[in-house]
Each structure stands twice: as structure tokens, then as C-alpha cells.
């Protein structure tokens, strides 16, 4: 490679390297704020350290606990678990099609006195795809 091309190649690598470094540092600094949702044990822990005001909207993610789902006075009740800890959720509204006990879920709302009052419920599905008849195997 000729000398001036080597210099330009070095310049190209320098641009890529410095932009990676810059973004990397920003992401590193933001890391604690970027997480999209908290798991039940994380939410309980953060509530101990910093007392969340009852008006702060937080996101809680995990699995819908088996046999915890029931409907009471038009309100949906269920528990979200990360298999370490679980939080009771109360929600009024339509549930997404994929809502199911034992499946992933993200809820958005307020955490107050150990109960999570959800405004919105999103179903999280995993990366597995298979035809229905394979479940029997």
C-alpha cells in the first residue's frame, strides 16, 4: 500500500475508533438509566434505597405467575414474578392477545404500598417459533 493511502486508512480507522469510544462512554455513563424495565426484585430493592414517590411511573417486567390471575370488579389481578420475588398487579383495561399465565409481560404504571397499579400492559414473547402440533412432542 502506498504511503498516502496508508495514512488515509489510518484516518478511516481513527474516525471509526473515536466514534465507538465516544458512544461507548456515553452508553456506559447512561447504563443505569437505560434499562427498559425493572424486575420485581429490582423494583423492591430500588424502592428501599430511594423511596419512589407514589406518582412516579415505572416499568415492571417479568413472568405472569401461574395461578395468580383473577378478575375482580372489572379489574384484572395477577402477579408478576422473576422467580425470586413477585409483585401484585392491578389493571383495568384490555389485555393483549398474548397475555397468558407463565408468559413474559411488561407493565407500566405506579408502584404503591407493595401493589403495582398498571396503566398499560404489554405482552412480551420469546424468540421461539413453532407450529401448534409440535407442542405434543
Amino acid at each position: 500500500m502506498k504511503k498516502h493511502r496508508k495514512k488515509r486508512l489510518f484516518g478511516v480507522l481513527l474516525i471509526i475508533g473515536s466514534s465507538c469510544l465516544g458512544i461507548g462512554l456515553i452508553l456506559y455513563a447512561l447504563n443505569s438509566n437505560l434499562d427498559y424495565f425493572l424486575t420485581p426484585s429490582e423494583l423492591k430493592k430500588s424502592n428501599e434505597n430511594v423511596v419512589l414517590s407514589s406518582n412516579t411511573r415505572v416499568k415492571l417486567g417479568g413472568m405472569v405467575k401461574k395461578d395468580s390471575f383473577f378478575i375482580n370488579e372489572n379489574k384484572v389481578n395477577f402477579e408478576v414474578t422473576d422467580f425470586e420475588d413477585s409483585i401484585k398487579v392491578i389493571y383495568e383495561g384490555l389485555l393483549p392477545d398474548l397475555f397468558k399465565e407463565g408468559k413474559g409481560i411488561v407493565v407500566l404504571g405506579k408502584y404503591n404500598d407493595g401493589i403495582f397499579y398498571a396503566d398499560e400492559v404489554f405482552a412480551k414473547h420469546d424468540e421461539n417459533y413453532m407450529p401448534p402440533n409440535l407442542e405434543l412432542d
Binding site: 427498559y36 408468559k103 404489554f122 417459533y129 407450529p131 407442542e135
Partner: protein
Amino acid sequence: MIKKFFHQFASPKSYFAIANKFGKPFLTFFFLLYISALVWGLFFTPPDLVQGNSYRIIYMHVPASFMAQILFVVMAITSAVFLIWRLKLAAYVSKSIAPIGAIVTFFALFSGSIWGIPTWGTWWQWDARITSTLILFIMYLGLISLHASFENKDKADKFFSVLVLIGLVNIPIIKKSVDWWSTLHQSASITLTSKPAIDPVMLYPLMFSIVSFIGLIFGLIILSSQNEILKREKYKSWVKNI
């Protein structure tokens, strides 16, 4: 001899001649292939156990999302080639990829939103994967407008290429976003290292749709770069003779 071949191919004139001959048949072939991949995916595959029929948009969403990222990498390679070897052709190709990349990225976001409504219960969330893809879309738009804002097109090529290289950092972020952060978007079904998490009856049409979509998009890039060559070299004698 190899060096001579590259020098010849890399001249806009001979590239144009080759592209003119093979571009359209290439595009038509992969377009038909993609259509048949969609027919296979939409009508001849079983529904998904969890998502039912709504998963079928995977045959459009995954190729588009994949290409949205690949095109940026290709654009970074051609931009680096232009910056190092000052090959004009590389800059022309880079520039013609940007609008196609923007459209493909928009389609990836759009199809993802449509998919999100029945499955997640929302069409938009500021999720790491979705947000980083939106940034990719904005970056494509930024590149297009950057190039358009220069009177001097040779200068435009240089700034464009440098910006592409800076933006390249977003690609690994998009790719790893589902692993680094807890996101609503699920992690990858197909990886190089492990067995696909998707059943073969759905995997084969999906692979087929990805491959044919790659061909379709590269066909479009060939045609679009021909356009760019004509526009940029319109005062050259070989263009006047066409």
C-alpha cells in the same frame, strides 16, 4: 492482472456497461424470487403456536430489518474505499445506497409497528431495539440531506463518507441492544453460533425470503447507482455518447 481487472471494473464507464447488461435481469429475478418467498411464507406455512397467524409478517419484517443494517455496513465499506483509494465509483455507490437504506429501514419500523399491535399490545415503545433502529433511519435521512446540501459534489462525497463511518457505531448497538438491555423486543431467533429457535418449516421460507430480499435490494442499488453515474458524469464524453 487482477490489479488491471479491478482498475477496469472500478471505472464508472465499464461498471455502467456491465450494470446496464445485468442489472435489470438480476433485479427481475430476485423480485420474482421474493414474491414466491412471500407466497410460501404467507400461504404454505403453519401458524405459530403462540402468535397464530400474526407471526407471518416475519417474512417481511426480518429481511427488511436485516437489510437496514447490512446496507449501512456496505455503505461504510464503499465509503472507506472511497476515502482511502479515492475511487469515484465507490462514492457513487455509497450515495445511491442511502435513500434505499432509508426506505428499507422505514419499512422495518413500519412492519414492526404493525406486528407490535396484536402481539405486544402497542405499536410503539421507546425500547432499545426500536429506538436504535429509529436512529438508523434518521441517520440515513441525515446522510441524504448532507449530500444534497453541498454545491460541490466532490466535497459532499468526502463529508458523506466520514459521516457514514461515524454512524457505523450504531450497527453493533442495534444488533446487541436486545442482549445488553431488557427490551420488549425478543432476542435473535437466528444466530451463527447456536441452533435456530425457529422451526424448520418456518425457517426455510424465512431464509429464502432473506436471501431473495438481499438480491432484490442489491438489484435496486445497481440501477440506482447507474443513475447516479449518469448524473455525476454527464459532461464526460462517454456519457454524451449514450
